[in-house]
């Protein structure tokens, strides 16, 4: 459904951030995009959703296809209308609008009756939002704001929902709750999900397929169950080095140990 073909992205014409990223997302699947900070994960999402222009970024090579159609030259508003919704990092909201108004903005492409049904659907997934429907959204707690942004994305009935670090700054139990809801959404509505996360363990637990990015490239990909078993992933992303065994000093110096996927 979504094919990212070897894209290169440059910011301000001098900062080369993505150096050939290829991804594929099948319909109804859940895909994780993992990597350390600065790997280029958010840039990849923005290249797909068309928001690079706001930071003076451009796709200088490669293409992005959605449903067989090239979308890399489209405006962000048109890409959103095709059903590709990016939930921006840091639970970004329309702060001065109320919770319900934020949700209505999510569904603004639809008419009154449909909006009512969608609102009920979203409140069904997130009952806490119903309690806070009339409050100014800027004053909600972090967890509620994250629920609100996911709910707002749901309002537009997306075919592909791209979540940028939804667990950022949230209590661990709340992270589990939100990830459960995201899984439900994927299962019940057949919405494809592209999940960018730092919390590799939680992300690989709920997704079908995963891509690992470093320094603007995809360095490893595979089904999530396989990735969890991969030695390098375990050590560098899941923090599971050998426990209770004697280690040689050479092995402890992680910065000196080369990852198996380099060279």
């Amino acid at each position: 459904m979504l094919v990212v073909n070897n894209i290169e992205v440059v910011y301000s014409e001098v900062i080369w951030v993505l150096r050939g990223v290829t991804l594929e997302i099948a319909e109804g699947s859940m895909v994780a995009l993992l990597g350390a900070n600065g790997a280029g994960k958010t840039t990849t999402l923005k290249a797909i959703s068309g928001l690079l222009w706001a930071e003076l970024g451009k796709i200088t090579a490669g293409s992005v296809e959605y449903g067989g159609r090239k979308i890399d030259r489209l405006k962000a508003e048109d890409i959103a209308r095709l059903g590709v919704i990016q939930v921006l990092e840091g639970h970004r909201l329309f702060e001065h609008l109320t919770t319900e108004e934020n949700l209505r903005m999510g569904g603004h492409l639809f008419d009154g009756q449909a909006i009512k049904q969608k609102l009920d659907m979203v409140y069904g997934y997130f009952p806490r939002l119903r309690e806070r429907r009339g409050e100014i959204s800027g004053y909600l707690s972090g967890g509620e704001q994250q629920m609100l942004v996911i709910g707002r994305a749901l309002m537009s009935s997306p075919e592909l929902m791209m979540l940028d670090e939804p667990s950022l700054g949230l209590a661990p139990l709340l992270v589990l709750e939100i990830f459960d809801i995201v899984s439900d959404i994927n299962f019940e509505k057949q919405t494809a999900i592209l999940l960018v996360e730092q919390n590799a363990k939680a992300a690989l637990a709920i997704t079908d397929y995963g891509y690992i990015m470093e320094n603007g490239r995809v360095v490893l990909e595979g089904p999530s169950e396989k990735l969890v078993e991969n030695e390098d992933i375990k050590e560098f992303y899941l923090g599971l080095s050998q426990l209770g065994e004697r280690k040689s000093y050479r092995e402890i110096k992680h910065y000196k140990r080369r990852k198996r996927w380099l060279g």
Binding site: L51, E77, A80, Q86, F94, H96, L97, G106, H108, Y139
Partner: protein, 294 residues
């Protein structure tokens, strides 16, 4: 007592005109977060369009009014398209500087096209009799102005609060990148807000033109409108009307009572008022508070 009543009532009517000018400012700020300092000049241009149709071409006032609004809508769109749109995504301060430049360009353009003559509307928008309350008399043009500003205020407030488009405009003002990421046609929203602002500024300019004379210096009323919006809240229509009326009333009252002791004091009362209000309510009476989560 009658003197007071006269001053008070005429202050309300003048204030309603300030409110009309302020509404144009609020429209732009409410839908794009841009501080348009050229709104006084946009009012002036609207008045001159009215003058062209009513006086120079001799057409009936209601026709001149509608045509002037159409032209003002086009002007608003052209300004947005040529000057503001290329700056999408840049800092709002840069855009503010551009509107300062617009102030001078519009004033100069007006001088070029219409010259230094002063003009007066020959007839009012619609005929009402002047009102007598006790010994105070409110002239017809003031009544017309008051009615028009209340009607415009109600229409705009309803549009922004209750329609889907109005919600999109408020959301775009809050965060334009976020709005775009949700499929809002941000550039179209900006165009629409400047068209709306052009139209309401023109209404304000024409109403004001009925009360005073029209010349190329009329844009200075824009400076009077600034304390009104700061006082009432930058994104509040209610604040624009209430602020306008308060500024108008304090202006006439201070002019009537204090002018003998301190000539020219009535010019600065709006600003003193603005200062005092800002001390207590930094976002104006009805403005949106900046949301900070601690």
């Amino acid at each position: 007592m009658d003197y007071f009543l006269q001053l008070f009532l005429s202050g309300i009517c003048i204030g309603a005109v300030y409110g009309l000018g302020a509404i144009g400012f609020v429209i732009i700020y409410k839908s794009s977060g841009i501080f348009n300092l050229a709104h006084g000049e946009m009012m002036m241009v609207g008045a001159f369009f009215g003058v062209t149709f009513a006086n120079l071409l001799g057409w009936p006032m209601w026709l001149a009014f509608i045509l002037a609004l159409v032209l003002a809508a086009v002007t608003g769109f052209v300004i947005q398209f040529l000057v503001i749109r290329p700056l999408t995504g840049q800092s709002h301060f840069a855009v503010l500087m551009v509107t300062v430049g617009l102030m001078f360009i519009i004033k100069g353009g007006t001088l070029l096209v219409w010259g230094h003559e002063t003009y007066d509307f020959r007839e009012l928008l619609f005929q009402v009799e002047s009102l007598e309350i006790g010994e105070a008399i409110i002239a017809s043009e003031y009544i017309v102005g008051f009615i028009v500003s209340i009607v415009l205020f109600v229409l705009l407030w309803a549009y922004f609060s209750y329609t889907k488009n109005g919600l999109s405009m408020r959301a775009t003002a809050d965060d334009e990148e976020l709005a775009e990421s949700m499929g809002v046609r941000v550039r179209r929203i900006f165009g629409m807000s400047w068209i709306l602002a052009g139209v309401s500024s023109a209404v304000g300019g024409i109403i004001m033109g009925m009360m005073t004379t029209i010349d190329y210096n009329m844009g200075e009323v824009g400076l009077k409108v600034l304390p009104v919006v700061v006082f009432g809240g930058l994104e509040s229509f209610l604040g624009a009307i209430v602020g306008g009326i308060v500024v108008g009333v304090t202006g006439t009252l201070s002019g009537g009572y204090l002018d003998e002791y301190l000539t020219g004091f009535k010019e600065i009362t709006p600003y003193i008022l603005m200062l005092l209000v800002l001390l207590i309510k930094p976002f104006g009476l009805f403005g949106e508070k900046k949301i900070e989560r601690i």
